[in-house]
């Protein structure tokens, strides 16, 4: 396997024409960023997008890369694994905006669900246990990182390949088919409320799993009109992040309850779990952490090495951070 050539990030990326200050008339971009779309609508920021933006309800790695290939999407919203895999499969992509969580270690997206009676209370105790593993997904990469942190190799545990869709992991834990499995978001709360009584628990992994990115195909970014439109979008995106930060009640009601059909309680749990957002002005730290993830995955999954910095389009580095910070000052 492994025949996919690592995307040869054009060294000339920096030499690409600087972003145009205005979006040419008639430019259209298709955006796969469903939650931000709701934030834009709730906040009225959507009016600031004075060019044609079409929203598609597409997010996550597999779906966005499929849509990129089909030229059906210009920008997608994902965590830090999909850009890596996209590059490995020969799809040249660039990150154009990144958001994180403040105090990320204490506000993780995922926790390690522990099956009732598995007797795991520290990462080291994972040795010899069955762990649900979905290669190619963020959860899969997380498992590898957790093992690395615990000083364990793939051989020291039993990785059980399972798709992480729906509540398969919770079910697998509850029926003790696996001893540990990464659970994300509201599934953590559900698992505990359902199975804590039986002895189920969760374990914090103490790693940062918070990156969330906007990324686009390089082909799109080479188009000056679209590149300018994306810059405008990223700017509003930063403001939207700030708006969500500042309007938790509206966000809870408008997004979680009304749009996603969650109960208020669940929505509040998710908002609390997310903590405060961090949209940095510089990507340096993020790129460094991204590189570590790449190194780990390349080693464990036998993939070619990549340079993390090549995954980022630095022309956009400060845009989101600036607007995020500015909107905060203006709103305060």
């Amino acid at each position: 396997g492994g025949t996919a050539t690592a995307g040869s990030p054009s060294a000339s990326r920096a030499a690409v024409a600087p972003l145009a200050p205005t979006v040419p008339a008639g430019t259209t971009i298709t955006v796969g960023d469903p939650s931000v779309k709701v934030a834009l609508e709730l906040s009225g920021l959507i009016k600031e997008l004075d060019f044609n933006v079409e929203f598609a309800n597409i997010s996550g790695g597999p779906q966005t890369t499929e849509a990129f290939r089909a030229n059906a999407l210009d920008v997608g919203s994902v965590a830090d694994i999909p850009p890596i895999h996209a590059t490995w499969t020969g799809l040249d992509v660039r990150i154009i905006a990144s958001a994180f969580r403040q105090d990320a270690v204490n506000h993780p997206l995922y926790e390690l669900g522990i099956a009732p009676g598995a007797g795991i209370s520290s990462l080291q105790e994972l040795r010899g246990k069955k762990i649900a593993y979905s290669p190619g997904q963020a959860q899969g990469a997380l498992v590898l990182r957790i093992l690395e942190k615990a000083g364990l190799g793939q051989k020291d545990v039993k990785l059980v390949e399972l798709p992480s869709t729906g509540d398969v992991y919770a079910t697998a834990l509850a029926s003790k088919q696996v001893d540990a499995a990464p659970l994300g978001g509201v599934q953590i709360k559900r698992y505990l409320s359902k199975y804590q009584a039986d002895g189920g628990s969760t374990l914090r992994h103490g790693l940062r799993d918070d990156p969330s990115h906007l990324y686009s195909p390089a082909k799109v970014l080479d188009d000056p009109a679209k590149a300018a439109a994306l810059a405008a979008y990223v700017e509003v995106w930063g403001k939207a992040k700030r708006w969500v930060e500042d309007h938790p009640a509206e966000w809870l009601e408008g997004y979680y309850v009304k749009d996603q059909g969650l109960s208020r309680e669940d929505g509040r749990y998710l908002i609390d779990a997310a903590g405060k957002a961090d949209v940095p002005l510089s990507w340096a730290e993020a790129i460094e952490r991204h590189q570590q993830t790449i190194d780990l995955l390349a080693r464990e999954q036998k993939k070619p090495e990549l340079v993390a910095a090549d995954l980022y389009d630095t022309r956009y580095e400060a845009i989101a951070g600036t607007s995020f910070a500015a909107a905060g000052k203006a709103g305060a």
Binding site: G32, P34, A56, N57, I58, Q63, E66, A67, R69, A70, A72, L73, T165, G166, D167, A170, T171, A174, G185, V186, Q187, R190, Y191, K194, Y195, Q260, G261, L262, D266
Partner: protein
Amino acid sequence: MSAATAVRRTAVAPHQDPAPAHPKDVRPTGRRLGPGRRRRLAWLLGPSALLLLWTVASATGLLDPRILSEPWTVVATAGELIADGRLQENLAISAQRAGLGLFFGIVVGAVLALLSGLSRAGEALIDGPVQIKRAIPGLALIPLLILWFGIDETMKVLTITLGVFVPIYLQTHAALRGIDLRYVELAQTVGLSRAGFIRRVVLPGALPGFFLGLRFAVTGAWVSLVVVEQINSTSGIGYMMELARTYGQTNIIVLGLAVYGILGLLSDGIVRFIERKALSWQRTLAG
């Protein structure tokens, strides 16, 4: 009244008309080998038993409500979702997609079946690719479909169409090929035109098979919503279920399953009803 006492009589055990006002009706009652007379509403028995089982298993704790919500929870959830309009809206949108896909699938499947069933050239060209198509997992085709047809409604309806046409094709083709040669000979001797042959012999003769294909197709159309409504959609029952799955809302998932079950039973029932009417000329074991 006369009877042969010399002859063993067990098999003639007669039965009497229970209403004495009626004239006597005593018939030879040999064992009946068919399933007997159709009884109205009997079809409710199985689903009701299932429902009862579910209820009892939930009530006694045999069934873990954390995996499969209790019926009453599901009913309550349904009440909520209906009250705020989500269930109906999603259903309406899904029904539209399924209906469109079904329509095109039926047309495509039937036309291909005719082409391939009535000419060896058509068969050579069409049949193999259809068999290949149905051997390839639908999920694996989605990237190609997105590539060629984008991520909008077209692609969704097309995906359903692609799923639906297969059973229609296969069944119609097989039924058509199964038409008794005697009727083909008849058509030849009365000088039916090709169109007349199709209209008067092939279509009615293949109708039983077509209906069976339709039964696969209607449930198939509903089921494929689960897949297509994961792609760029913000509505529909498949989307509703997918959302519930990512948030682990067991009650909504199970409600979705119940809705699927009911939709399946209903659509299948409707097809079978039409089938019975349309095939009233048949004298079969079905009675």
